[in-house]
Assembly symmetry: C2
DNA sequence: AAGCTCATTGACTGACGGGTCAATCCGCCG
DNA sequence: CGGCGGATTGACCCGTCAGTCAATGAGCTT
């Protein structure tokens, strides 16, 4: 009667969730592994029972979430809707991720995505996958005449993703006001800027 | 006959220049202060003679260069030219800074600007000053009817600066091809995307 | 009930690197 | 010449963790 060993509580999950809070609060480099253990209400050594290293905890957090993002982009691209709507959906997904779990997104953005030197190095591939998927959306739109072809899709992606990341960073560091309304406005404004431009 | 004490060589400058190379090569956190001293051909302790801490070396590098950028933006804004040209000038200045001294810009972008958690925290104010100056450019253009007012200037800035930073990051981490021609294209494309939009 | 497996504990170790400081060097001035 | 002050040196100190490991305990299997 194969009773799942992990029936009562999944300590691994508890550790990961605690790590999100600790990384968000203190930063990956400044925090100690013992902080994670304490936050999780678990012994120090248990972290090393489930993870090979402190780095691997962050890796796991990032990969778990980033794969969800990649799937969401792929799924969006599969729809038969205007390219602009696809971009709105992608920006919307990222912003909703932030609204739903700000700590996790903060960690991913601040400690991985924006820290390509320290950590991203390992994950540049994964991050590049997202760029590539979005580039696909843009390129198809250009071929279909929805977007003008004047601007290389590589630049379009940088502008689009750069705008999103910058807005999230603005929220994270208190440079932009945050509220449910602001989140909705951001989705619309980002896409409108990238697709429609600032020009009168 | 006040002979300048520092006549022969300015060791302080030598240390700063060496630090740029070391930070660019190994990253601020991974490198040791002794690496900087070795690169500068100077004794370990001399770094602490001129700087209070390892952090202060990076601080100095950042502030020196960022103030030049702020001045450049202010100077650009003073000109009587179309807002789009101002943005081109600003993007151009940043990209030229990168072309002129890639190591220094790499350090500033990767270790300060994009590392707002670790370091930027101290410099969020300075970074915000740049946003604010650019926002001024956009807002004036909106009031003059050059740019449409539909998009709040705060978002416009995020999109503009985000696009630039993302392109630089792409170069730094080898996600975008680099060449003199690419630099020129980037200036044009970034501004054209932000001002004209992707839409057909 | 005995013994096995595996989660769990937390004290301990060892490396690493930032920062200190006492000593030395050197140009200048009286 | 003698001595002052600032530049320069680099060995050393010392705190800080990441990661280890031997011991404990809880439940399952036979």
């Amino acid at each position: 009667m194969a009773v799942p060993r992990q029936a009562p509580v999944d300590k691994r999950r508890i550790i990961l969730d605690a790590a999100v809070r600790v990384f968000a609060r203190e930063g990956f480099h400044s925090c100690r592994v013992s902080d994670i253990a304490n936050e999780a209400g678990v012994a120090y050594g248990l972290v090393y029972h489930y993870f090979k290293s402190k780095d691997q905890v962050l890796d796991t957090l990032f990969l778990e979430r980033w794969d969800v993002l990649l799937d969401a982009i792929r799924e969006t691209d599969r729809q038969r809707i205007p390219a602009e709507d696809k971009l709105t959906a992608i920006a919307g997904f990222i912003i909703e991720s932030y609204r739903h779990d700000p700590d996790l997104m903060k960690v991913i953005i601040v400690e991985v995505t924006r820290a390509a030197n320290t950590f991203g190095a390992t994950h540049i591939g994964k991050i590049g996958e997202a760029y590539e998927l979005i580039r696909g959306v843009v390129e198809k739109a250009q071929n279909a005449g929805e977007f003008r072809s004047e601007i290389p899709s590589e630049f379009a992606v940088m502008a689009f993703y750069g705008a999103i990341e910058q807005v999230l960073t603005g929220w994270i560091f208190g440079l932009l006001p945050e509220s449910d309304e602001e989140y909705e406005l951001a989705k619309a404004h980002i896409v409108r800027t990238i697709c429609g431009g600032l020009g009168a």
